[in-house]
Protein backbone atom coordinates (compact mmCIF):
# COMPACT_ATOMS: atom_id res chain seq x y z
CA UNK A 1 0.00 0.00 0.00
CA UNK A 2 1.38 3.36 -0.96
CA UNK A 3 1.67 6.32 1.34
CA UNK A 4 -0.25 9.49 0.64
CA UNK A 5 2.76 11.47 -0.35
CA UNK A 6 4.07 9.07 -2.93
CA UNK A 7 3.12 10.12 -6.36
CA UNK A 8 2.84 7.42 -8.96
CA UNK A 9 1.87 4.48 -6.78
CA UNK A 10 -1.83 3.81 -6.82
CA UNK A 11 -2.53 5.99 -9.81
CA UNK A 12 -0.85 4.32 -12.73
CA UNK A 13 -2.32 0.86 -12.81
CA UNK A 14 -4.07 0.60 -16.19
CA UNK A 15 -2.42 -1.98 -18.42
CA UNK A 16 -4.23 -1.88 -21.76
CA UNK A 17 -3.62 -4.98 -23.86
CA UNK A 18 -2.37 -4.44 -27.37
CA UNK A 19 -4.75 -4.42 -30.32
CA UNK A 20 -2.81 -7.04 -32.37
CA UNK A 21 -2.99 -9.43 -29.41
CA UNK A 22 -6.77 -8.94 -29.10
CA UNK A 23 -7.28 -9.49 -32.82
CA UNK A 24 -5.15 -12.61 -32.89
CA UNK A 25 -7.01 -14.04 -29.89
CA UNK A 26 -10.28 -13.34 -31.69
CA UNK A 27 -8.93 -15.01 -34.83
CA UNK A 28 -7.90 -18.08 -32.85
CA UNK A 29 -11.34 -18.24 -31.22
CA UNK A 30 -13.07 -18.09 -34.63
CA UNK A 31 -10.76 -20.77 -36.04
CA UNK A 32 -11.48 -23.06 -33.09
CA UNK A 33 -15.22 -22.49 -33.53
CA UNK A 34 -14.99 -23.50 -37.18
CA UNK A 35 -12.95 -26.52 -36.10
CA UNK A 36 -15.64 -27.66 -33.63
CA UNK A 37 -18.38 -27.29 -36.21
CA UNK A 38 -16.27 -29.13 -38.79
CA UNK A 39 -15.43 -32.05 -36.54
CA UNK A 40 -19.15 -32.70 -35.97
CA UNK A 41 -19.42 -33.93 -39.57
CA UNK A 42 -16.79 -36.62 -39.01
CA UNK A 43 -17.64 -39.74 -37.10
CA UNK A 44 -15.05 -40.15 -34.38
CA UNK A 45 -17.24 -42.32 -32.20
CA UNK A 46 -17.30 -41.89 -28.46
CA UNK A 47 -14.23 -39.65 -28.57
CA UNK A 48 -16.21 -36.71 -29.93
CA UNK A 49 -17.43 -35.47 -26.56
CA UNK A 50 -13.81 -35.41 -25.34
CA UNK A 51 -12.60 -33.54 -28.43
CA UNK A 52 -15.46 -31.05 -28.25
CA UNK A 53 -14.80 -30.37 -24.58
CA UNK A 54 -11.04 -29.98 -25.14
CA UNK A 55 -11.63 -27.43 -27.91
CA UNK A 56 -14.19 -25.57 -25.76
CA UNK A 57 -11.75 -25.51 -22.86
CA UNK A 58 -8.98 -24.10 -25.06
CA UNK A 59 -11.39 -21.38 -26.20
CA UNK A 60 -12.41 -20.68 -22.62
CA UNK A 61 -8.75 -20.49 -21.65
CA UNK A 62 -8.05 -17.93 -24.37
CA UNK A 63 -11.01 -15.79 -23.32
CA UNK A 64 -10.03 -15.98 -19.65
CA UNK A 65 -6.33 -15.33 -20.16
CA UNK A 66 -6.55 -12.38 -22.57
CA UNK A 67 -10.07 -10.94 -22.75
CA UNK A 68 -10.55 -11.27 -19.00
CA UNK A 69 -6.93 -10.22 -18.38
CA UNK A 70 -6.34 -13.18 -16.08
CA UNK A 71 -2.83 -13.55 -17.49
CA UNK A 72 -1.98 -10.12 -16.08
CA UNK A 73 -4.23 -10.14 -13.03
CA UNK A 74 -3.28 -10.54 -9.39
CA UNK A 75 -2.57 -14.18 -8.48
CA UNK A 76 -5.19 -14.02 -5.75
CA UNK A 77 -7.96 -13.19 -8.25
CA UNK A 78 -6.80 -16.04 -10.47
CA UNK A 79 -6.94 -18.46 -7.55
CA UNK A 80 -10.39 -17.25 -6.51
CA UNK A 81 -11.79 -17.65 -10.01
CA UNK A 82 -10.15 -20.96 -10.90
CA UNK A 83 -11.06 -22.50 -7.55
CA UNK A 84 -14.71 -22.28 -8.60
CA UNK A 85 -13.96 -24.79 -11.36
CA UNK A 86 -12.48 -27.16 -8.79
CA UNK A 87 -15.74 -27.03 -6.86
CA UNK A 88 -17.77 -27.52 -10.03
CA UNK A 89 -15.66 -30.62 -10.76
CA UNK A 90 -16.31 -31.96 -7.25
CA UNK A 91 -20.02 -31.31 -7.65
CA UNK A 92 -20.21 -33.03 -11.04
CA UNK A 93 -18.07 -36.03 -10.09
CA UNK A 94 -20.01 -36.86 -6.94
CA UNK A 95 -23.44 -36.29 -8.46
CA UNK A 96 -22.63 -38.26 -11.60
CA UNK A 97 -21.14 -41.11 -9.61
CA UNK A 98 -24.20 -41.21 -7.41
CA UNK A 99 -26.68 -41.15 -10.28
CA UNK A 100 -24.71 -43.80 -12.12
CA UNK A 101 -25.34 -46.10 -9.18
CA UNK A 102 -28.97 -45.28 -8.58
CA UNK A 103 -30.83 -43.40 -11.31
CA UNK A 104 -30.56 -46.01 -14.07
CA UNK A 105 -33.40 -47.96 -12.50
CA UNK A 106 -35.67 -44.92 -12.53
CA UNK A 107 -35.10 -44.14 -16.17
CA UNK A 108 -37.34 -46.39 -18.30
CA UNK A 109 -35.79 -47.55 -21.53
CA UNK A 110 -39.07 -47.54 -23.43
CA UNK A 111 -41.67 -44.88 -23.06
CA UNK A 112 -44.47 -46.43 -21.13
CA UNK A 113 -47.69 -45.01 -22.42
CA UNK A 114 -50.88 -46.35 -20.90
CA UNK A 115 -51.17 -49.75 -22.54
CA UNK A 116 -54.38 -51.70 -22.97
CA UNK A 117 -53.30 -54.32 -20.49
CA UNK A 118 -52.85 -51.87 -17.71
CA UNK A 119 -56.14 -50.21 -18.55
CA UNK A 120 -57.90 -53.57 -18.28
CA UNK A 121 -56.15 -54.16 -15.01
CA UNK A 122 -57.32 -50.80 -13.74
CA UNK A 123 -60.88 -51.56 -14.82
CA UNK A 124 -60.66 -54.95 -13.12
CA UNK A 125 -59.53 -53.52 -9.86
CA UNK A 126 -62.20 -50.85 -10.04
CA UNK A 127 -64.85 -53.51 -10.56
CA UNK A 128 -63.47 -55.50 -7.67
CA UNK A 129 -63.58 -52.47 -5.45
CA UNK A 130 -67.15 -51.77 -6.52
CA UNK A 131 -68.10 -55.38 -5.90
CA UNK A 132 -66.64 -55.49 -2.41
CA UNK A 133 -68.28 -52.19 -1.61
CA UNK A 134 -71.69 -53.45 -2.71
CA UNK A 135 -71.09 -56.66 -0.72
CA UNK A 136 -70.33 -54.64 2.35
CA UNK A 137 -73.44 -52.57 1.75
CA UNK A 138 -75.63 -55.65 1.50
CA UNK A 139 -74.07 -57.10 4.64
CA UNK A 140 -74.77 -53.84 6.47
CA UNK A 141 -78.32 -53.83 5.10
CA UNK A 142 -78.84 -57.38 6.35
CA UNK A 143 -77.44 -56.41 9.72
CA UNK A 144 -79.85 -53.52 10.02
CA UNK A 145 -82.72 -55.76 8.95
CA UNK A 146 -81.88 -58.40 11.56
CA UNK A 147 -81.68 -55.73 14.21
Amino acid sequence: MSEHGQSKDGYDFAHPISIPLMLSVFGALLALTILTVAQASFDIGSLDIVIVMVIATIKAGLVMAFFMHLAYDKPFNVIVFLSSFAFVALFLIFTMGDSKLTSVDFEPKVDDEASEVSEVAVVDTLEQVAATESEQATVEMEETVTE
Binding site: M1, P16, V63, M64, F67, L92, M96
Partner: protein, 373 residues
Protein backbone atom coordinates in the same frame (compact mmCIF):
# COMPACT_ATOMS: atom_id res chain seq x y z
CA UNK B 1 3.02 13.22 -12.27
CA UNK B 2 0.73 14.21 -15.09
CA UNK B 3 -1.80 11.68 -13.91
CA UNK B 4 -1.93 13.32 -10.52
CA UNK B 5 -2.57 16.69 -12.10
CA UNK B 6 -5.24 15.20 -14.28
CA UNK B 7 -6.81 13.68 -11.20
CA UNK B 8 -6.71 16.95 -9.36
CA UNK B 9 -8.64 18.62 -12.17
CA UNK B 10 -11.56 16.39 -11.38
CA UNK B 11 -11.48 17.19 -7.68
CA UNK B 12 -14.50 18.66 -5.99
CA UNK B 13 -14.18 22.34 -5.49
CA UNK B 14 -16.79 22.63 -2.83
CA UNK B 15 -15.45 19.75 -0.79
CA UNK B 16 -15.70 20.10 2.93
CA UNK B 17 -12.53 18.18 3.70
CA UNK B 18 -8.99 19.23 4.14
CA UNK B 19 -7.75 16.73 1.62
CA UNK B 20 -8.10 16.71 -2.13
CA UNK B 21 -9.20 13.68 -3.98
CA UNK B 22 -10.64 13.16 -7.43
CA UNK B 23 -14.42 13.03 -7.75
CA UNK B 24 -14.39 9.40 -8.82
CA UNK B 25 -12.45 8.24 -5.77
CA UNK B 26 -14.67 7.21 -2.87
CA UNK B 27 -13.82 8.51 0.60
CA UNK B 28 -12.91 5.15 2.05
CA UNK B 29 -10.20 4.40 -0.50
CA UNK B 30 -6.66 5.72 -0.37
CA UNK B 31 -5.89 5.47 -4.05
CA UNK B 32 -7.74 4.78 -7.30
CA UNK B 33 -5.79 1.54 -7.56
CA UNK B 34 -7.07 0.35 -4.21
CA UNK B 35 -10.61 1.23 -5.27
CA UNK B 36 -10.15 -0.64 -8.53
CA UNK B 37 -8.68 -3.74 -6.87
CA UNK B 38 -11.48 -3.95 -4.32
CA UNK B 39 -14.09 -3.75 -7.04
CA UNK B 40 -12.25 -6.32 -9.08
CA UNK B 41 -12.11 -8.83 -6.25
CA UNK B 42 -15.82 -8.25 -5.75
CA UNK B 43 -16.66 -8.94 -9.38
CA UNK B 44 -14.52 -12.07 -9.39
CA UNK B 45 -16.40 -13.38 -6.37
CA UNK B 46 -19.68 -12.63 -8.16
CA UNK B 47 -18.47 -14.53 -11.23
CA UNK B 48 -17.62 -17.49 -9.01
CA UNK B 49 -21.24 -17.59 -7.80
CA UNK B 50 -22.37 -17.36 -11.43
CA UNK B 51 -20.28 -20.36 -12.41
CA UNK B 52 -21.59 -22.40 -9.50
CA UNK B 53 -25.12 -21.34 -10.46
CA UNK B 54 -24.70 -22.54 -14.04
CA UNK B 55 -22.95 -25.73 -12.89
CA UNK B 56 -26.29 -26.97 -11.53
CA UNK B 57 -27.75 -26.92 -15.03
CA UNK B 58 -24.63 -28.47 -16.52
CA UNK B 59 -24.97 -31.22 -13.92
CA UNK B 60 -28.58 -31.91 -14.94
CA UNK B 61 -27.39 -32.05 -18.54
CA UNK B 62 -24.55 -34.45 -17.69
CA UNK B 63 -26.77 -36.83 -15.75
CA UNK B 64 -29.47 -37.01 -18.39
CA UNK B 65 -26.96 -37.40 -21.18
CA UNK B 66 -25.17 -40.15 -19.27
CA UNK B 67 -28.43 -42.04 -18.76
CA UNK B 68 -29.93 -41.53 -22.21
CA UNK B 69 -27.31 -40.59 -24.84
CA UNK B 70 -29.71 -41.66 -27.62
CA UNK B 71 -32.25 -39.01 -26.61
CA UNK B 72 -29.59 -36.33 -26.95
CA UNK B 73 -28.53 -37.60 -30.35
CA UNK B 74 -32.12 -37.69 -31.56
CA UNK B 75 -33.13 -34.29 -30.22
CA UNK B 76 -29.97 -32.42 -31.13
CA UNK B 77 -30.98 -32.83 -34.79
CA UNK B 78 -33.76 -30.34 -34.16
CA UNK B 79 -31.33 -27.61 -33.18
CA UNK B 80 -30.09 -25.60 -36.12
CA UNK B 81 -26.29 -25.80 -36.09
CA UNK B 82 -26.00 -22.91 -38.55
CA UNK B 83 -27.89 -20.54 -36.26
CA UNK B 84 -25.90 -21.74 -33.26
CA UNK B 85 -22.60 -21.25 -35.06
CA UNK B 86 -23.57 -17.75 -36.21
CA UNK B 87 -24.57 -16.87 -32.67
CA UNK B 88 -21.24 -18.16 -31.38
CA UNK B 89 -19.43 -15.93 -33.86
CA UNK B 90 -21.56 -12.92 -32.92
CA UNK B 91 -20.92 -13.47 -29.23
CA UNK B 92 -17.17 -13.93 -29.74
CA UNK B 93 -17.09 -10.70 -31.74
CA UNK B 94 -18.97 -8.91 -28.97
CA UNK B 95 -16.34 -10.20 -26.55
CA UNK B 96 -13.64 -8.70 -28.76
CA UNK B 97 -15.37 -5.32 -28.88
CA UNK B 98 -15.90 -5.45 -25.11
CA UNK B 99 -12.19 -6.11 -24.49
CA UNK B 100 -11.48 -3.26 -26.89
CA UNK B 101 -13.88 -1.02 -24.98
CA UNK B 102 -11.94 -1.72 -21.78
CA UNK B 103 -8.77 -0.77 -23.62
CA UNK B 104 -10.37 2.47 -24.85
CA UNK B 105 -11.44 3.39 -21.34
CA UNK B 106 -7.89 2.77 -20.10
CA UNK B 107 -6.38 4.99 -22.79
CA UNK B 108 -8.94 7.80 -22.53
CA UNK B 109 -10.41 7.31 -26.02
CA UNK B 110 -13.96 8.36 -25.31
CA UNK B 111 -15.27 8.22 -28.87
CA UNK B 112 -13.78 4.77 -29.31
CA UNK B 113 -15.29 3.65 -26.01
CA UNK B 114 -18.78 4.74 -27.06
CA UNK B 115 -18.36 3.04 -30.44
CA UNK B 116 -17.09 -0.20 -28.90
CA UNK B 117 -19.85 -0.32 -26.29
CA UNK B 118 -22.43 0.33 -29.00
CA UNK B 119 -21.08 -2.50 -31.15
CA UNK B 120 -21.04 -4.85 -28.17
CA UNK B 121 -24.68 -3.95 -27.54
CA UNK B 122 -25.53 -4.42 -31.22
CA UNK B 123 -24.00 -7.90 -31.18
CA UNK B 124 -26.01 -8.74 -28.07
CA UNK B 125 -29.19 -7.65 -29.87
CA UNK B 126 -28.33 -9.68 -32.98
CA UNK B 127 -27.76 -12.68 -30.72
CA UNK B 128 -31.21 -12.24 -29.18
CA UNK B 129 -32.79 -11.80 -32.62
CA UNK B 130 -31.36 -15.07 -33.90
CA UNK B 131 -32.39 -16.73 -30.64
CA UNK B 132 -35.96 -15.42 -31.12
CA UNK B 133 -36.11 -17.12 -34.53
CA UNK B 134 -34.84 -20.38 -33.04
CA UNK B 135 -37.30 -20.33 -30.14
CA UNK B 136 -40.37 -19.33 -32.15
CA UNK B 137 -39.64 -22.00 -34.76
CA UNK B 138 -39.47 -24.68 -32.06
CA UNK B 139 -42.58 -23.46 -30.28
CA UNK B 140 -44.55 -23.64 -33.51
CA UNK B 141 -43.44 -27.24 -33.92
CA UNK B 142 -44.47 -28.06 -30.36
CA UNK B 143 -40.89 -28.76 -29.29
CA UNK B 144 -41.48 -27.48 -25.80
CA UNK B 145 -40.41 -28.41 -22.27
CA UNK B 146 -41.65 -31.75 -20.95
CA UNK B 147 -45.00 -30.54 -19.60
CA UNK B 148 -46.00 -28.71 -22.79
CA UNK B 149 -44.33 -30.97 -25.36
CA UNK B 150 -46.80 -31.55 -28.21
CA UNK B 151 -44.52 -32.43 -31.11
CA UNK B 152 -45.98 -34.97 -33.53
CA UNK B 153 -43.58 -36.33 -36.12
CA UNK B 154 -46.37 -37.13 -38.56
CA UNK B 155 -47.39 -33.49 -38.48
CA UNK B 156 -44.27 -31.52 -37.57
CA UNK B 157 -45.70 -28.16 -38.63
CA UNK B 158 -49.22 -27.94 -37.23
CA UNK B 159 -51.40 -24.94 -38.00
CA UNK B 160 -51.30 -22.57 -35.09
CA UNK B 161 -53.04 -19.29 -34.47
CA UNK B 162 -50.35 -18.04 -32.11
CA UNK B 163 -47.62 -16.03 -33.76
CA UNK B 164 -44.85 -16.62 -31.27
CA UNK B 165 -42.32 -14.57 -33.20
CA UNK B 166 -44.60 -11.57 -33.13
CA UNK B 167 -45.01 -11.80 -29.36
CA UNK B 168 -41.24 -12.06 -28.86
CA UNK B 169 -40.68 -9.07 -31.16
CA UNK B 170 -43.36 -6.95 -29.52
CA UNK B 171 -41.29 -5.65 -26.56
CA UNK B 172 -38.38 -4.92 -28.89
CA UNK B 173 -40.71 -3.02 -31.24
CA UNK B 174 -41.81 -0.88 -28.30
CA UNK B 175 -38.16 -0.41 -27.35
CA UNK B 176 -37.24 0.71 -30.86
CA UNK B 177 -40.23 3.05 -31.04
CA UNK B 178 -39.32 4.50 -27.65
CA UNK B 179 -35.68 5.08 -28.53
CA UNK B 180 -36.56 6.66 -31.88
CA UNK B 181 -39.09 8.90 -30.14
CA UNK B 182 -36.44 9.86 -27.60
CA UNK B 183 -33.99 10.66 -30.40
CA UNK B 184 -36.53 12.84 -32.23
CA UNK B 185 -37.55 14.71 -29.08
CA UNK B 186 -33.96 15.36 -28.07
CA UNK B 187 -33.12 16.47 -31.63
CA UNK B 188 -36.02 18.92 -31.59
CA UNK B 189 -35.08 20.21 -28.16
CA UNK B 190 -31.45 20.42 -29.20
CA UNK B 191 -30.24 18.48 -26.17
CA UNK B 192 -26.82 17.40 -27.33
CA UNK B 193 -26.13 14.90 -24.55
CA UNK B 194 -29.40 13.07 -25.13
CA UNK B 195 -28.83 12.98 -28.88
CA UNK B 196 -25.39 11.48 -28.30
CA UNK B 197 -26.94 8.75 -26.12
CA UNK B 198 -29.99 8.08 -28.29
CA UNK B 199 -28.11 7.79 -31.60
CA UNK B 200 -26.11 4.65 -30.77
CA UNK B 201 -29.04 3.20 -28.85
CA UNK B 202 -31.27 3.53 -31.94
CA UNK B 203 -28.74 1.51 -33.90
CA UNK B 204 -28.70 -1.04 -31.08
CA UNK B 205 -32.49 -1.36 -31.06
CA UNK B 206 -32.54 -1.82 -34.84
CA UNK B 207 -29.93 -4.56 -34.53
CA UNK B 208 -32.46 -6.89 -32.89
CA UNK B 209 -34.39 -6.92 -36.16
CA UNK B 210 -31.14 -7.38 -38.07
CA UNK B 211 -30.72 -10.53 -36.00
CA UNK B 212 -34.29 -11.59 -36.81
CA UNK B 213 -33.58 -11.11 -40.52
CA UNK B 214 -30.30 -13.00 -40.29
CA UNK B 215 -31.99 -15.88 -38.49
CA UNK B 216 -34.82 -15.97 -41.05
CA UNK B 217 -32.40 -16.10 -43.98
CA UNK B 218 -30.39 -18.93 -42.42
CA UNK B 219 -33.52 -20.79 -41.37
CA UNK B 220 -35.17 -20.54 -44.81
CA UNK B 221 -31.93 -21.53 -46.53
CA UNK B 222 -32.02 -24.64 -44.41
CA UNK B 223 -35.60 -25.62 -45.25
CA UNK B 224 -35.13 -25.14 -49.00
CA UNK B 225 -32.14 -27.45 -48.77
CA UNK B 226 -34.19 -30.32 -47.43
CA UNK B 227 -37.18 -29.39 -49.61
CA UNK B 228 -40.65 -30.40 -48.57
CA UNK B 229 -39.71 -32.88 -45.94
CA UNK B 230 -37.98 -30.52 -43.60
CA UNK B 231 -35.00 -31.33 -41.44
CA UNK B 232 -36.88 -33.26 -38.79
CA UNK B 233 -38.75 -35.42 -41.28
CA UNK B 234 -35.45 -36.26 -42.92
CA UNK B 235 -34.02 -37.51 -39.68
CA UNK B 236 -37.03 -39.69 -39.01
CA UNK B 237 -36.83 -41.13 -42.48
CA UNK B 238 -33.11 -41.74 -42.32
CA UNK B 239 -33.34 -45.40 -41.49
CA UNK B 240 -36.46 -45.93 -43.55
CA UNK B 241 -34.39 -45.86 -46.78
CA UNK B 242 -35.24 -43.92 -49.92
CA UNK B 243 -38.33 -45.61 -51.22
CA UNK B 244 -39.99 -43.42 -53.81
CA UNK B 245 -43.67 -43.26 -52.94
CA UNK B 246 -43.99 -45.52 -49.94
CA UNK B 247 -44.83 -42.74 -47.52
CA UNK B 248 -48.00 -44.38 -46.19
CA UNK B 249 -46.18 -47.60 -45.47
CA UNK B 250 -43.38 -45.65 -43.84
CA UNK B 251 -45.82 -43.91 -41.59
CA UNK B 252 -47.52 -47.14 -40.63
CA UNK B 253 -44.24 -48.89 -40.04
CA UNK B 254 -43.10 -46.18 -37.66
CA UNK B 255 -45.39 -47.72 -35.11
CA UNK B 256 -43.19 -50.30 -33.46
CA UNK B 257 -46.07 -52.66 -32.83
CA UNK B 258 -46.77 -52.94 -36.55
CA UNK B 259 -44.09 -55.53 -37.17
CA UNK B 260 -45.62 -56.69 -40.45
CA UNK B 261 -45.33 -53.30 -42.11
CA UNK B 262 -41.88 -52.85 -40.67
CA UNK B 263 -40.50 -56.07 -42.01
CA UNK B 264 -42.15 -55.45 -45.36
CA UNK B 265 -40.38 -52.13 -45.49
CA UNK B 266 -37.06 -53.78 -44.70
CA UNK B 267 -37.73 -56.34 -47.40
CA UNK B 268 -38.50 -53.62 -49.92
CA UNK B 269 -35.37 -51.76 -48.92
CA UNK B 270 -33.23 -54.76 -49.52
CA UNK B 271 -35.07 -55.34 -52.72
CA UNK B 272 -34.25 -51.88 -53.97
CA UNK B 273 -30.67 -52.41 -52.87
CA UNK B 274 -30.39 -55.30 -55.28
CA UNK B 275 -30.92 -52.99 -58.24
CA UNK B 276 -34.65 -53.13 -58.62
CA UNK B 277 -35.19 -56.82 -59.09
CA UNK B 278 -38.45 -58.02 -57.65
CA UNK B 279 -36.97 -60.83 -55.59
CA UNK B 280 -35.54 -60.43 -52.14
CA UNK B 281 -31.83 -61.09 -52.10
CA UNK B 282 -30.93 -64.70 -51.52
CA UNK B 283 -29.55 -65.64 -48.19
CA UNK B 284 -31.35 -62.76 -46.51
CA UNK B 285 -33.69 -63.95 -43.83
CA UNK B 286 -36.69 -61.71 -43.42
CA UNK B 287 -38.24 -62.60 -40.13
CA UNK B 288 -41.65 -61.35 -39.16
CA UNK B 289 -40.63 -60.67 -35.61
CA UNK B 290 -39.22 -57.36 -34.43
CA UNK B 291 -35.47 -57.81 -34.48
CA UNK B 292 -34.62 -54.57 -32.79
CA UNK B 293 -37.12 -51.97 -31.76
CA UNK B 294 -36.05 -48.62 -33.13
CA UNK B 295 -36.91 -46.55 -30.17
CA UNK B 296 -38.78 -43.39 -30.84
CA UNK B 297 -37.28 -40.73 -28.60
CA UNK B 298 -39.59 -37.92 -29.68
CA UNK B 299 -41.96 -38.30 -26.77
CA UNK B 300 -42.87 -36.17 -23.82
CA UNK B 301 -41.03 -38.38 -21.43
CA UNK B 302 -37.74 -38.25 -23.33
CA UNK B 303 -37.42 -35.44 -25.86
CA UNK B 304 -39.48 -33.30 -23.50
CA UNK B 305 -36.82 -33.57 -20.83
CA UNK B 306 -34.11 -32.73 -23.36
CA UNK B 307 -35.99 -29.61 -24.37
CA UNK B 308 -36.57 -28.71 -20.73
CA UNK B 309 -32.81 -28.75 -20.25
CA UNK B 310 -32.28 -26.90 -23.54
CA UNK B 311 -34.72 -24.11 -22.70
CA UNK B 312 -33.48 -23.83 -19.15
CA UNK B 313 -29.82 -23.49 -20.13
CA UNK B 314 -30.23 -21.23 -23.16
CA UNK B 315 -33.03 -19.29 -21.49
CA UNK B 316 -31.03 -18.47 -18.38
CA UNK B 317 -28.13 -17.58 -20.65
CA UNK B 318 -30.40 -15.24 -22.64
CA UNK B 319 -31.55 -13.63 -19.38
CA UNK B 320 -27.90 -12.99 -18.58
CA UNK B 321 -27.53 -11.36 -22.00
CA UNK B 322 -30.52 -9.13 -21.17
CA UNK B 323 -28.94 -8.09 -17.87
CA UNK B 324 -25.66 -7.48 -19.67
CA UNK B 325 -27.49 -5.23 -22.13
CA UNK B 326 -28.84 -3.25 -19.19
CA UNK B 327 -25.36 -2.76 -17.70
CA UNK B 328 -23.89 -1.87 -21.10
CA UNK B 329 -26.52 0.81 -21.70
CA UNK B 330 -25.62 2.29 -18.33
CA UNK B 331 -21.94 2.26 -19.34
CA UNK B 332 -22.78 3.83 -22.70
CA UNK B 333 -24.54 6.77 -21.06
CA UNK B 334 -21.63 7.24 -18.65
CA UNK B 335 -19.15 6.97 -21.52
CA UNK B 336 -20.99 9.73 -23.38
CA UNK B 337 -20.73 11.74 -20.15
CA UNK B 338 -16.97 11.06 -20.25
CA UNK B 339 -16.85 9.57 -16.78
CA UNK B 340 -14.01 7.19 -17.43
CA UNK B 341 -10.28 7.81 -17.42
CA UNK B 342 -7.09 5.80 -16.85
CA UNK B 343 -7.60 6.03 -13.09
CA UNK B 344 -11.26 5.20 -13.16
CA UNK B 345 -12.27 2.52 -15.63
CA UNK B 346 -13.44 -0.04 -13.08
CA UNK B 347 -17.12 -0.20 -14.15
CA UNK B 348 -16.17 -0.86 -17.77
CA UNK B 349 -13.75 -3.57 -16.69
CA UNK B 350 -16.25 -5.21 -14.32
CA UNK B 351 -19.09 -5.29 -16.85
CA UNK B 352 -16.55 -6.56 -19.37
CA UNK B 353 -15.64 -9.46 -17.09
CA UNK B 354 -19.33 -10.30 -16.66
CA UNK B 355 -19.82 -10.14 -20.42
CA UNK B 356 -16.86 -12.44 -21.06
CA UNK B 357 -18.28 -14.94 -18.57
CA UNK B 358 -21.58 -15.00 -20.46
CA UNK B 359 -19.54 -15.64 -23.60
CA UNK B 360 -17.60 -18.36 -21.79
CA UNK B 361 -20.80 -20.19 -20.89
CA UNK B 362 -22.00 -20.03 -24.47
CA UNK B 363 -18.66 -21.47 -25.63
CA UNK B 364 -19.58 -24.63 -23.67
CA UNK B 365 -23.32 -24.57 -24.41
CA UNK B 366 -22.92 -24.48 -28.19
CA UNK B 367 -21.02 -27.77 -28.70
CA UNK B 368 -22.86 -29.52 -25.87
CA UNK B 369 -26.32 -28.79 -27.25
CA UNK B 370 -25.96 -28.23 -30.99
CA UNK B 371 -23.13 -30.52 -32.03
CA UNK B 372 -24.28 -33.97 -30.98
CA UNK B 373 -24.42 -36.53 -33.74
Amino acid sequence: MSTIEAAAENAHDAHGHDHDHPSFLAHHFDTPEQQFDSGKLGIWLFLVTEILFFSGMFCAYAIFRMLRPDVFEGCSQFLNTKLGAINTGVLLFSSLTMAWAVRCSQTRQNKGLVAMLASTLSCAMIFLGVKAIEYSHKWEMGLLPAGLFTFDQNNPHPETDTHYLFYICLPFMFLLAGVVLWLIISLVRGNEFHVKCAKPLTVVAICFFVGIGLGMILESGDSSHSEEEGLEEEVMMAEAVELGNESVLQKISRDDTNSGAKSELIARARQSDTAGTSIVQEGQIISGAIVSVEEDVMTKRQAGVFFSIYYCMTGVHAIHILFGIGFLVWLLVRAVREDFNPQYFGPVDYVGLYWHLVDLIWIYLFPLLYLIR
